[in-house]
């Protein structure tokens, strides 16, 4: 991990204004921001550790726990909301037995919501990794993940 981190940091000067781009790069590489990694970013940029965490925790993009292998992102944009997105979210919570923000115990799926994916014509919709599934109903959503322990990868569920 340290090796990769120094590789990322070598692309920057360590200026304060680079803090968010560095954290983004780090998360892109490791999937989340671990505490020791944030400590190193703090040392590199000369920003206090508490401030690094303060910045990271302010923005929705950053996460502090490793994500599941497959990330389910349910859109809760306005167009999706008025076309029954809450029922889709409820269905997935029941199906995967996790809350929004949680990861299944086998780390196969993480369930998250996002303010808007931006394909409102397909409302209500969700993303499994990068694949968008649109015009959903609770049943369609359920069928996407009917066997969470056997289904692997975003491709399979399309």
């Amino acid at each position: 991990m340290t090796e990769h981190l120094s590789g990322i940091l070598s692309g920057y000067r360590g200026a304060r204004g680079e803090l968010i781009p560095i954290l983004q790069k780090v998360q892109e590489r490791f999937g989340y921001l671990a505490e020791d990694v944030m400590d190193e970013v703090a040392a590199f940029t000369g920003v206090a550790k508490s401030n690094v965490f303060g910045v990271a925790s302010f923005y929705n993009q950053f996460r502090f726990d490793p994500p599941g292998r497959n990330q389910i992102t349910v859109c809760r944009g306005t167009a999706c909301h008025v076309q029954n997105a809450p029922a889709i979210i409820d269905e997935l919570r029941r199906q995967l037995r996790i809350e929004v923000g949680g990861t299944t115990p086998d780390r196969e799926y993480s369930l998250e919501t996002v303010a808007c994916i931006g394909c409102c014509a397909l409302a209500p919709c969700l993303k499994v990794n990068e694949d968008v599934h649109g015009r959903l109903t609770p049943e369609k959503a359920r069928k996407l993940f009917s066997h969470p322990e056997t289904e692997k990868g975003g491709q399979d569920v399309q």
Binding site: E18, F58, Q61, T78, I117, C119, C120, A121
Partner: protein
């Protein structure tokens, strides 16, 4: 159809890509090659063409043939239609929703015919990843004109004279902002493009960047020349990977061709642009918060004045405008301020871009002259409400805006008219709501969003929105009290007065407008314990009509909590104590039976309300 110099455009906007447009492009590529058309037909991918509802879209130019809901399997037929004797594949044409007749050409489709496109003029027509495509539609010509024919003061003068107002939502006169920034003391100065489009249900800035990124860059470079800046930043959401990628490509190409760099087109003027990816904080759409974010801090707004135009990024004069504002500049400089000011209303010039979504037949990206009335947008461009439902409200301005009822449908869409009826123009989200939408739930939804996105700096915004949300949650859960409505109004007015930035000052709008126009719905929730639109789970019930139930067992099997009793040949009954009101029974009940119904109010097991 003749096959000389045809171009097949495959829309690669986010909506179409989500529906499989990339695979369609590959299939078309293969079929065009196989049909020996590679020489005479050019295949291109474009940004958003606008009619997202009908995606994936394929357009054949110069004829203007429009194919809707294309599948990979249609590629062969489309390719064959491009051969000498081929006809339009009317099977894939858009169909008039009333007559069912195919409409082969997009100019004849009301969705397009009623629009007036300036900012979106080239969206969906050019390849956003090719600077040559942009140059072919007179791209960077306005920049050349500015650099070689106009003094910087004259550029500012033109923007002022055009009457352009900030298209991010607030509507501040753009030219005045430019003038302030030009006259401000301090070096270096910065030009920043606000593409932090955080409103749920809005995708107009993203689509502009994805479809025509050079038009935004051109506006920024002209702005840099006008105010005396050499560095620009585009602050774009990291959640928009395609926009980031296309903008990055555009920047690289513009540098290669000398439209960005130390000596642009040999004029001696130097300017460059960098992308800053926003990390997902709605408040960063506010200009001072956005600047704090670029500086690597928590995105908290600061008190104004000083305005960013005087003291912004790193304490230097900073010009901040919305994506669409910059995209308008090339037209103002290229065609002249008078041309631009010739459209729109007395006080709102030019055009407005909207993401038209929700319960409307034609979802998509649209552009209309300022002053167009809501009815025209929703019924003529939007095609009205689908499935024979009744219109209830239109929401503009996202979480900062308001909900307007049917009686307001003749309101013109411009900054001042919308503000007068309690809503705002906003950045361009327009969500249509129908009879099945609960207005209290919509208000709760928006407040839930703004409450979470409040940065916490101002107490009234931080604590006040939370209190409002708690009250709304109680009302939608059937625990509302008669005094709640007045309390919501009082809290809302206080938050508006006691907040520093636009987020807090507008957060109560969805609640205040729904109370103003849909008070009866609040009262039904509070007094009658009923959700008239049948949305709020604690205030509805499902029941199976004994006359219609055919005892097929499907609902019982699908019910996630085993609340449905019934056997073959025995009418099924829902146990109201067990029922979680998820609605699965209603959606699985075969359409020919339609035995499950949802009613306002709670039933008890005896069947009494």
């Amino acid at each position: 159809m003749s096959n000389s110099q045809r171009t097949v455009l495959v829309c690669q906007g986010t909506g179409c890509v989500s529906a499989g447009a990339e695979q369609i492009y590959s299939s078309l590529e293969a079929e065009i090659a196989r049909s020996g058309l590679k020489q005479s037909v050019q295949l291109k991918h474009t940004g958003c063409h606008g009619f997202c509802q009908q995606g994936p879209l394929v357009v054949v130019e110069p004829d203007g043939i429009f194919y809707a809901r294309v599948q990979t399997g249609d590629a062969l037929e489309i390719a064959q239609s491009l051969l000498g004797t081929g006809d339009v594949v009317t099977r894939l044409s858009y169909r008039d929703p009333v007559t069912g007749e195919p409409i082969p050409y997009y100019r004849d489709i009301p969705f397009y015919g009623k629009q007036q496109r300036t900012i979106l003029k080239n969206c969906g027509k050019i390849n956003p990843e090719s600077i040559d495509d942009y140059l072919a539609v007179d791209g960077y010509r306005a920049l050349r004109k500015a650099l070689f024919e106009l003094a910087p003061e004259k550029v500012v003068e033109e923007v002022k004279r055009s009457g352009l107002r900030g298209l991010g939502g607030a509507g501040f006169p753009t030219g005045r902002k430019w003038e302030t920034c030009r006259q401000a003391a301090g070096e270096p100065k910065y030009v920043v493009c606000n593409a932090d489009e955080g409103d749920p249900g809005a995708f107009q800035d993203r689509s502009t960047l994805e479809a025509d990124p050079h038009s935004v860059l051109e506006g920024m470079i002209i702005a840099g020349y006008a105010i005396g800046a050499r560095q620009g930043y585009v602050y774009v959401r990291a959640e928009y990977p395609l926009a980031v990628q296309r903008l990055q490509t555009a920047i690289v190409q513009a540098r290669e061709k000398g439209y960005l760099g130390s000596d642009i087109m040999g004029s001696g003027f130097g300017f460059d642009v960098e992308i800053f990816q926003g990390a997902g904080a709605f408040v960063c759409g506010e200009e001072t918060a956005l600047i704090a974010s670029i500086e690597g801090k928590r995105g908290m707004p600061s008190f104004r004045p000083p305005f960013p135009a005087v003291s912004g990024l790193w304490g230097k004069p900073t010009l901040l405008n919305n994506t669409k504002t910059y995209a308008s500049i090339r037209w103002i400089i290229g065609q002249g301020a008078d041309w631009f000011a010739g459209r729109g209303t007395q006080k709102s010039k030019g055009t407005a871009v909207f993401s038209l979504t929700g319960k409307v037949s034609n979802c998509g990206l649209i552009e209309v002259p300022m002053g167009t009335i809501l009815r025209e947008i929703i019924y003529e461009i939007g095609g009205g409400i689908p499935a024979g439902k009744a219109f209830k409200a239109v929401q503009t301005g996202g979480p900062s805006g308001g909900c307007l009822p049917a009686s307001m449908l003749d309101t013109p869409v411009d900054f001042d008219s919308l503000a007068a009826v309690g809503s705002i123009m906003g950045s361009g989200g327009m969500v249509v709501l129908d009879e099945d939408t609960c207005m209290v739930d919509v208000a709760r939804y928006f407040l839930d969003f703004t409450q979470r996105e409040s940065c916490g700096e101002c107490s009234l915004c931080r604590i006040g929105t939370l209190q409002m949300l708690e009250i709304l949650k109680a009302i939608t859960a059937g625990e509302g009290k008669p005094e709640d409505i007045d309390l919501l109004i009082e809290l809302g007015e206080a938050i508006k007065k006691g907040s520093l930035c636009g987020l807090g000052r507008t957060a109560p709008n969805p609640v205040l407008t729904t109370i103003r126009y849909f008070r009866d719905e609040y009262e039904a929730h509070i007094h009658d314990k009923k959700c008239p639109a049948r949305v709020c789970k604690e205030l509805i019930s499902y029941r199976i009509s004994p006359d219609k139930c055919k005892a097929c067992l499907i609902c019982g099997r699908e019910c996630p909590v085993g609340a449905i009793r019934g056997e073959k040949k025995q009418v099924h009954v829902i146990d109201q104590d067990k029922c979680i009101r998820c609605g699965v029974c209603m959606s699985v009940c075969p359409e020919r039976f339609a035995a499950v119904e949802c009613i306002p109010g709670r039933l008890t097991n005896g069947g009494e309300q």
